[in-house]
């Protein structure tokens, strides 16, 4: 996420100087949404409801931006045709 700046390099006053798009919140996930493109009707409700702005519509296909998706599952729950399934992000044995 970059080096910490010294006081001399900061902008004036109390304003942020970077965009949060540098922060990849995708590493929060425990569950990952997977879209079955065959079932998807491209209604875009998942795009609408995603709190992370992590569902992408390029004009032809609905895709998940895994850089930011936190795996909340709202998209899967709201999908009217159940085209999205939440699958575990990690496989492995519990310690």
């Amino acid at each position: 996420m970059g080096e910490l700046k010294s006081w001399k390099e900061l902008p004036l006053g109390a304003i942020t100087f970077r965009l949060s798009t540098d922060v990849k919140t995708g590493d929060w996930r425990a569950l990952r949404p997977v879209i079955d493109q065959n079932k998807c009707t491209k209604c875009l409700l998942c795009w609408l409801f995603c709190p992370e702005m992590a569902i992408l519509w390029g004009g032809s296909k609905v895709q998940v931006n895994y850089d930011y998706c936190k795996g909340c599952g709202i998209c899967a729950h709201e999908c009217p045709v159940k085209a999205i399934s939440m699958v575990p992000e990690y496989e492995g044995e519990a310690l």
């Binding site: 798009t21 709190p51 519509w57």
Partner: protein, 346 residues
């Protein structure tokens, strides 16, 4: 499981309004058109909890903006999680001052815009001022500033995103916490079963101020929500929108039910959808209007509380009377609203 596919390249952009041009973005309610023509005011990478409804509220509200807009954010979950220095998730101009003064800060901005315009120094035809404040900064500590702003008639849209407790500081009760809800300062104990007091009727209090526009909304009923935000912006003077905002942390519900639980809040008439203007009086909208016309669609309050841990104690057999009291309260306030609503069937 293989590693996730590479993220597609998307320009998550800052929203720029170049000075000197006239802006009047049309209201879009078609999802395809929204996805193609509107950019959310919130960028990804914010630190709100997974499944929080607040960023959805901000996103939907921003789809209703019509041009240059400034957001004033009270201290709270939204403010803190979207601007952790040095990062910001805001694609539009944004200011946070303190907890209780979002309405006062917005008043100052609105006054400045007027003064700058009057002296030919405003680079735009207008700048809309929108407040985003939680129930913390609105019901209680922020109420004075809100009431003052309403009384003085500032042209500001105040959106209350109500998650029914002081969530950012760890789920303490607020004036917006409903009766019987568990919070850390109104816990369910052997002597007292959650918050003893009812939720303050904040939207009705704003109606009593007789400002040009007051409405209740949820992001689950998104068409209704976007339309109401747009009305609030267009109206000349103070507008207030009470938006219910689910919180899976504080309400203790599953993350994926963030929108579902808000739907149930309306279906059970716990949180009816309406709007009010001095000319029209109370008007039910969307699902609440449908329920008024088809009372059989009204769900029992269990449907709302059964998915939330903060109300779990009400489902125990020994608390049957409390559940009954809650249902009676919801029924009584719904009946009262039906009496006042101009478009409710008589």
């Amino acid at each position: 499981m293989s590693s996730p596919p590479a993220a597609p390249k998307v320009p998550h952009e800052i929203i720029i309004f170049e000075p000197g041009k006239k802006y009047e973005l049309p209201l879009i309610l078609n999802l395809r058109q929204l996805a193609e023509q509107r950019k959310p005011a919130l960028l990804p990478g914010h630190r709100m909890c997974a499944g929080c409804a607040a960023p959805i509220i901000v996103k939907l509200a921003s789809f209703a903006f019509r041009g240059p807009t400034v957001v004033v954010n009270a201290t709270g979950c939204l403010e803190v999680a979207t601007t952790i220095y040095p990062y910001t998730s805001w694609a539009i101009p944004w200011i946070h001052n303190a907890f209780e003064n979002a309405a006062a800060t917005a008043s100052g901005i609105e006054a400045a815009v007027k003064a700058l315009k009057r002296t030919g120094r405003l680079k735009y035809d207008y700048i809309d001022v929108v407040v985003l404040a939680g129930d913390g900064g609105t019901y209680d500590i922020g109420f004075q500033a809100l009431s003052g702003m309403a009384e003085r008639g500032h042209d500001v849209l105040y959106i209350l995103y109500d998650n029914e407790a002081y969530m950012n500081t760890g789920i303490q009760r607020s004036g917006g916490t409903p009766k019987f809800a568990w919070t850390t300062t109104s816990p369910v104990g052997s002597a007292i079963p959650g918050k003893p007091e009812h939720k303050k009727p904040i939207a009705e209090i704003m109606v009593a101020h007789r400002i040009p526009y007051v409405a209740t909304a949820t992001p689950a009923h998104w068409v209704d929500f976007i339309k109401k935000v747009r009305k609030g912006i267009e109206v000349n003077g103070p507008a207030f929108i009470h938006a219910l905002s689910s919180c899976n942390r504080g309400w203790r519900h599953a993350e994926e039910l963030g929108i579902e639980v808000l739907r149930r809040a309306v279906d059970t008439c716990y949180f009816p959808l309406w709007e009010w203007t001095p000319e029209t009086g109370y008007l039910l909208t969307d699902r609440s209007l449908i329920i008024a016309r088809n009372p059989s669609l009204k769900q029992p309050i269990e449907k709302f509380i059964e998915v939330q841990g903060r109300f779990r104690h009400l489902l125990r057999p020994e608390n049957r009377e409390l559940l009954k009291a809650l249902q009676e309260y919801v029924d009584a306030t719904w009946e009262d609203l039906l009496k006042r609503a101009v478009n409710a069937p008589k």
